[in-house]
Amino acid sequence: MISAKKVSKHYNKKVALDQVDLSIPKGSIYGLLGPNGAGKTSFIRIMNQITAPDSGEVYFGDELLQPRDIARIGYLPEERGLYKKMKVGEQVLYLAKLKGLTSPEAKQRARSWFERLDMVSFWDKKVEDLSKGMAQKVQFVTTVLHEPELLIFDEPFTGFDPINTNLIKKEIKRLNSEGATVIFSTHRMESVEEICDHIGLINNGQVMVEGPLLDIRKKYKSGTYSVVTKEPIEFNNEALVSNEKLHTGYSSILKFDEYPSEVIIDLAKREILVGFEEVLPSVGDIFIDIVENGPKA
């Protein structure tokens, strides 16, 4: 859908992006992850053509990114807001027209979104009279109203209340299932793990790892297994990472270099094995692993 080839960006000798290669597949929900100051927002601003890269190219589909592609992207920035003195309806129409919609188109779509999200009563209110949660809904609608093929959310869930977070996650999933590609950018890596199918991890302006989330987690697995047993079990110190008593039994985290088939067979024969599962590392774990040990080949 959108891809970057060797994109670099400097702010006055400070490197924001260094030869970044990223590729966001069509139809994916893509997590652009990294700590604060990693270069996520710089990259997003380049995709939105708010700033231009110093070098490198960005492709939208198969072609170079063009100014007119703006109308095909919906962007909810981290620093987001609305004109406080303007009426909600007017403002939504204005922003939609800036994205290239005609007046009747904008009106019709806005009405249906307002009905769907149960916000028809906002239409003639001024933004300053809305609660924060209401304003967030309006911001979401302005982001998606022009039916963009690519949706970019920068730190989408900071400041959203739990109800809106769920509502908007649901709407985003729906839009994704209808064909939109979605990019989430956040430093809270755990918050998007459940909805993303692809991730790109960046730090200090460099891509550390990128690809389907499951593949990456498998690649970075460290031979960790979770075993639940009826009775406490004993292992040598190297294998046992931790154990604790649950009300259903005893849970142990174990580490093995190879698949522990003999251990499982043994436990099963003793009829004390209740649960067994391979533990894949979280994105946060992978990030720390890479920062400490470098990326895996």
């Binding site: 601003r45 708010i50 962007y75 004109y83």
Partner: protein
């Protein structure tokens, strides 16, 4: 086609014009202005209460002056009254004030001057005090002249008032024109002030608008749809349009109010008030020129040039300054922070206003020339000079410099703006702004 700049202009214009404050300012300003023109005349023509003043004139300095209808003078016999008795008399009488003129030793005018006293039942009005002072001044002058052995009548005859008719000698024979200096002064000054006011008022609006977009955090949403320079330009044009509309309404309203008032309400009042209003406002007094002459004078001014110049400097100055103010607004987070940057930007305009009188007095001097070339002062300084008829190459040079500077400034301001609108919570310095140019 939905051109983004047009959409932005439309929004900037409509949101401002629809505000209640816009309506209020637009309607109230001409009323205030009209009041400023009419009220002095109205006050001057109001019949004032008559005052009766008793005078204890020991040296017979004022006698037999009876005063005016408004201030009637009445004398107490100095042989029967002293100051204390006179005060007592004032308390028990219908009279309003008591003037005490002591004779002192040898009727020395300077002693009299220093020791005269004025008592009133109520506060003495400035008008009454001035009336008494003028009267006494004249008498004491006369006394002094007499003591020096000079006949006051001779002095009065020697006093002359000169009023010279001046002409501007044209190149051709017979092209002498009645010199219209006072009118030109007034025209230049008022036009310059209008430009100053317009630039200041509306450029600051541009800055406020930019800050508003920044603090409300809408700006990044907008510039993901339009280019930053489009947003900046749309804002400048939209607010400029608000200004033009407001000015047009003011001109129409003022003319109407003035017209209605002068034809129907107080036909002869305005003749007085035109003279009374002008000096207070600091404009040169043009009320003493006779009607026929004014007609000649008006003909001597190159109106197409003055009007064209006014439109050019009006917009040129506004565009230049509003681009600067837009860049300023982008660099700061709230208006309170704008002070340190405002001063260097507005200083040239303030200097142009401060030097306006010097330029009027010498419209072709060195100061006038350089001020009307420097692009940050030329919209005001050149406008002041224009009615006086200056070499046409200077007008074109000044205009070219202004246009050139405008494009350079828009380029620079656009760069600062582009970076500034996305910077939050940063205390910006001049050095920082310079760095942004290279982002």
């Amino acid at each position: 086609m939905n051109s983004p700049i047009l959409l932005i202009i439309q929004r900037e214009f409509l949101t401002r014009v629809r505000k209640k404050t816009f309506l209020l300012v637009t309607l109230i300003a001409p009323v205030l202005f009209a009041a400023l023109m009419i009220v002095p005349g109205l006050l001057a023509s109001m019949p004032e209460e008559n005052k009766q003043i008793v005078v204890l004139d020991e040296p017979s300095l004022l006698l037999p002056e009876v005063g005016t209808e408004q201030y009637a003078l009445d004398y107490l016999n100095p042989t029967e009254f002293d100051l204390e008795l006179a005060k007592e008399f004032l308390r028990n009488s219908e009279k309003d004030a008591l003037l005490y003129i002591p004779s002192g030793e040898g009727w020395d005018p300077d002693f009299i001057r220093k020791n005269m006293l004025l008592f009133g039942k109520e506060d003495i009005s400035i008008d009454l005090q001035r009336f008494i002072e003028n009267l006494l001044e004249e008498r004491i002058n006369k006394q002094k002249l007499l003591r020096q052995g000079v006949d006051p009548d001779v002095v009065a005859q020697a006093k002359t008032s000169v009023s010279i008719r001046s002409f501007t000698l044209g190149e051709e024979e017979g092209s002498e024109e009645t010199s219209a200096t006072p009118l030109k002064m007034g025209l230049g000054y008022i036009a310059g002030m209008l430009i100053y006011f317009f630039i200041f008022f509306y450029s600051v609006q541009v800055m406020r608008g930019v800050i508003e977009e920044k603090t409300s955090r809408i700006v990044e949403v907008i510039i993901s749809s339009v280019r930053p320079y489009q947003l900046m330009l749309g804002k400048i044009l939209g607010i400029g349009l608000v200004g033009v509309v407001q000015f047009l309404i003011w001109i129409i309203l003022c003319t109407t109010i003035y017209g209605v008032v002068s034809t129907f309400v107080f036909p002869d009042l305005l003749a007085q008030s035109a003279g009374a209003g002008a000096p207070g406002m600091g404009a040169p007094d043009v009320s003493n020129i006779e009607g026929l002459q004014i007609f000649d004078m008006i003909r001597s001014i190159n109106f197409p040039l003055v009007l064209g110049g006014f439109a050019f400097y009006f917009f040129g100055g506004y565009f230049l300054y509003s681009a600067l103010f837009a860049a300023l607004g982008s660099a700061i987070d709230q208006e309170a922070d704008s002070q340190q940057f405002m001063l260097p930007v507005t200083a040239p305009m303030i200097i142009a206003i401060v030097t306006a009188m010097n330029i009027i007095q010498e419209p072709n001097g060195t100061l006038a020339f350089w001020m009307s070339m420097f692009p940050l002062t030329s919209p005001i300084s050149m406008m002041i000079r224009l009615p006086f008829g200056i070499p046409i190459w200077q007008v074109f040079l000044s205009g070219a410099i202004l246009i050139g500077t405008f494009f350079a400034v828009v380029g620079i301001a656009g760069k600062i703006y582009r970076v500034g609108i996305l910077m939050y919570g940063k205390k910006v310095t001049w050095k920082e702004l310079y760095k942004w140019l290279k982002y």
